[in-house]
Symmetry: C3
Subunit: 307 residues, 3 copies
C-alpha cells in the first residue's frame, strides 16, 4: 500500500516507491475525464513556477493541471528573471516562493538545484528538470504512457536512443525503469554520448540488465518501445563524426519495416528533425498521446502531494 504523500517533495523518480508510482497512475486514470472540464479539489491553492531555464511544454502542462484542479498559478517563466536580479541566491528565491505558495515547481540547469530547494522549502518542491539526470515528472509521464499502452511496465523491452549523456529525460527514465521487473533496456548512442557512469552504476545496483550499442537497426526489431531523443551537433567534439553517425539517429519509415507490429515510438518533445512528419501517420507514433497523458498524471501528482 502506498504511503501518505501529502507534503512530499518529488526531486528524483527514485524518491517514490513503485507502489507510490502506481497510486499516482491509478489516480491519473480517473483524472482523464477531468482533463477538459476540471475539478475544485485544489481551490485556494497556489503553484509557484520558478523556471530558471525555460520549458514551455513542462510549464504549460503543470499550469493547466493546477488550473484544472481549481488552483491558481504565479511565478516566472523564463531566465530573463536571472538577468535582472543577478546574483540573488537560489535559496533566497525559494524562501520567497515558500512563504507565498502551496507548492513550488522548479527548473534549473544546475544539478542538485531542486534537492537544495526542497531542503529549504517547507512546502513541497517538484523538480521540473535540473542538471542532466533528473526530470521525474517527464518520467512519470513516460512510464504512464507505457503502462497505458501495454497494461504493465514489467517485462517491457525498450530502447532509448540518441544523446544519453546530456538528455535528462533519458537518464531519468533509466532510473525510473529500475522500479520494474524483467525490463530489457537498450542504450543506443554514439560512443561519445553514452549514458553517464553514475546512471549505469545506479541501474546495475538495482539489478537491471542493459545493453549498450550504437547500432539502431539491430535493436529496432527487438523492442516494444523506441524512445527517441535529439542528437545535437554541438554536443559532439568532431563535426565529421556527427555527420557520419547522425543518419542512424534520425528515424525513417524504412527503419521501421522490421519493427514489431505493436512497437510504439515515444519522444518527450519538442522534436526537430529526428522524427520526420511522415512517421506521425504510422501506427507506431505515440508521442502526441504521450504529451496528452502528461496532463492527467500531473493532475494526479499535484492531488497527491499538495496539502
Amino acid at each position: 500500500m502506498a504511503s501518505e504523500m501529502k507534503g512530499r517533495d518529488f526531486i528524483a523518480i527514485t524518491d517514490f516507491t513503485r507502489g507510490e508510482l502506481e497510486s499516482i497512475f491509478e489516480l491519473a486514470d480517473s483524472m482523464k475525464k477531468y482533463a477538459k472540464s476540471g475539478l475544485q479539489t485544489l481551490h485556494g491553492k497556489i503553484l509557484v513556477t520558478l523556471f530558471f531555464e525555460p520549458s514551455t511544454r513542462t510549464r504549460l502542462s503543470f499550469e493547466t493541471a493546477m488550473l484544472r484542479l481549481g488552483g491558481a498559478v504565479t511565478g516566472f517563466a523564463d531566465p530573463s528573471y536571472s538577468r535582472v536580479v543577478t546574483g540573488e541566491s537560489l535559496a533566497d528565491t525559494v524562501r520567497m516562493a515558500d512563504s507565498y505558495g502551496n507548492v513550488i515547481l522548479l527548473r534549473h540547469k544546475i544539478e542538485g538545484a531542486a534537492r537544495l530547494a526542497a531542503e529549504i522549502a517547507s512546502i513541497p518542491v517538484i523538480n521540473a528538470g535540473d542538471g542532466t539526470q533528473h526530470h521525474p515528472t517527464q518520467t512519470l509521464t513516460d512510464l504512464y504512457t507505457i503502462r497505458n499502452e501495454f497494461g504493465s511496465i514489467d517485462g517491457i523491452r525498450i530502447a532509448i536512443l540518441g544523446d544519453l549523456k546530456h538528455t535528462r529525460s533519458a537518464s531519468s527514465l533509466c532510473l525510473g525503469l529500475t522500479h520494474y521487473k524483467d525490463v530489457q533496456l537498450y542504450l543506443v548512442s554514439p560512443e561519445e554520448l553514452k549514458a553517464k557512469e553514475e546512471v549505469k552504476d545506479y541501474i546495475r545496483g538495482r539489478g537491471m540488465d542493459f545493453i549498450e550499442t550504437d547500432n539502431v537497426e539491430n535493436v529496432i526489431p527487438e523492442v516494444d518501445v523506441l524512445y527517441v531523443t535529439r542528437l545535437q551537433k554541438e554536443r559532439m567534439s568532431d563535426p565529421a563524426e556527427y555527420e557520419r553517425v547522425k543518419g542512424s539517429y534520425f528515424i525513417t519509415r524504412q527503419m521501421l519495416e522490421r519493427a514489431k507490429k505493436g512497437m510504439i515510438i515515444m519522444h518527450h518533445l519538442p522534436r526537430i528533425d529526428e522524427i520526420p512528419i511522415d512517421i506521425d501517420y504510422t501506427p507506431h507514433a505515440r508521442y502526441f498521446q504521450q504529451a496528452s497523458l502528461g496532463l492527467p498524471v500531473r493532475m494526479a501528482l499535484l492531488s497527491k502531494i499538495v496539502e
Copy 2:
C-alpha cells in the same frame, strides 16, 4: 437566425455571416454590464495563448475577457519562446495546446498560420492576427464600435488611412465591411503602400465600392469614420518620399476643421505620433472607447464558441 457557433474557429472576419456577427454584437451589448464584475459561464475552461509575436493589447483584452467569464488562462506571451525551441513546428505546439485547453488564441507573423492551427486542433482556434490580412477580433471590435456609434454599419462612409499594404487590421476591416450594404470605402495611402490586389479583388467580388486616393484632405469632409493606421518610415523604399508624404498621414486639428460634426476617429492602438494628443480632447476621438469595446465583444465571442 444565427447558426450554432459552439466549437467554431474564427480565422478570418469572413468566416462568419453577417447574422452571426450581429448575434455576437447583441451578446456584447449584454456583456457590457459584466465588464467590471464578471460571470461564471466559462468556469473550468482554459484559454491557451500562443503569441509567436507579442501583442500586449490583444493578449490582455482576451485574458481579461476569459477571466471575466470565470475561465482561466495559460500560454506564452512573447516570441522568446520561439528562440528557445527553435525549429519546433507550429503544428506540434498547436497539438500540445489542443490537448490542454478549451480554446486557442494564436498570433503569428506568417500568413495562414491560424488556418493551419485550426485544421490541426480539435478545440476552437481564434486568430489574434497572422500575416498581413487577418485580425478578425480587431475587426469585430471595429465594427462593434461603428455599430455602437451609428446604430448600424449599413450605409457608413469610412476612410482607412495609412499603410494599407502591411497593416493587417486595415485589410481585415476592408473584408469585414463587405458584410454590410451601401458602405462607401475610401482607401487613402501613399502609392507604395496601397492595399494588396487580393484584398481589393475580394472586395470587388463582394460588390462593394471603394475609392483609392492619396489625398487625405479631400476625403475627411466626406466620411463618418476616419480609421487611422501608422505609417512607418522603414516600410517605404525611398526615405525622401516618406518625408514628402508623411504630413498627410499625421492627423492634425486643422485637418479636422472641415470634418462632419459627428465624424469619429478610430485607431487600433498603440499609436505613436500619427494622432497627436490634442486630438484626444476633440469630440471626434473614439479610439479609447474602441479599445474598451474590445472587452465585451471578446467576452461575447468566447461565450459563443467555447464548448
Copy 3:
C-alpha cells in the same frame, strides 16, 4: 477613525494617514491566517500588473495576494513589452488597463509615473515603485514588520544603511517613518550617496530628527532596527573610493557583537553580498520574515482599496 479607502490610489506612503496605515496593519493581522489558504472576497476582480521595470518579488507577492483573495491577474511582467510598442505613451497603456481591470499595479523607472497613471485611471492605482523616492507597499511591509516585532513604531531607533540616494525603498521608508512619534533615524551612507535634499527637507518639515553619518560601527549599538540596502560600485564616481568604503556597508557577524540583544536586521531583498549567509542564523536576521509579511499586508491593502 480611518476614513473609507475604497477606490483610493496608493502612490506615496504619505498619501495615507497614520490611522489609515494602522487600519491596514490591523486587517493584515487577520489576513495572516489566510496566507496559505485564501478567501473569496475579491472574487471576480482583476489586478492588472504593468511592470515597465521587472521586479519579481513585488510582482509575485501582489499576484499571490490577489489570488489568495479570490481575484485574478493579467498584465505584463517585464520591460520586453516596452521594446515592442516603442513609443506608446504610458497614458495610453494606463487607459487600456483602466478599461479592463479593477486595480492597476504599476512599476516604472521614471519619477512620477505612478502619480500620472493615477490621474488618468478611474480605478485605483498602486505604485509598485517608481523613480528613486516612492515604493509605498515596500514601506507598508517594512513598517508592519517593525510593528510586528516591537508592538509599536513610535519611539523606534533605526539606521538605514547604504545607497540612500538611489534606493527608493530607503527614501520611501524615511517618508513613512514621519507618521510616527519620537523616531530616532540614522542615515548611514558614503558622502556621495547621501539621501536627497528633498527627502531630508520633507522629514524636517514633519518635525522628525535624523542624524547623518558614514560611521556604521558607532551606530549599530544605538539602534533597534538596522535596515540594510545594497551599495553598488557603478553608482560611485570613483572606484577607488568604493573599494575604500565598501567594507563598512557589508555587514559582518563581528560588527553585530556590540548590537542590542533585540536588534533586528531588515533588507527588502534581493540581497547580493551586503548581508553574508552566516548572518541568517543569528537572532538578528528578520529579512525573510519581512518578505513573508509582505503578503498579508498586501492582501489587506487590496481588500481596503479595491471596489
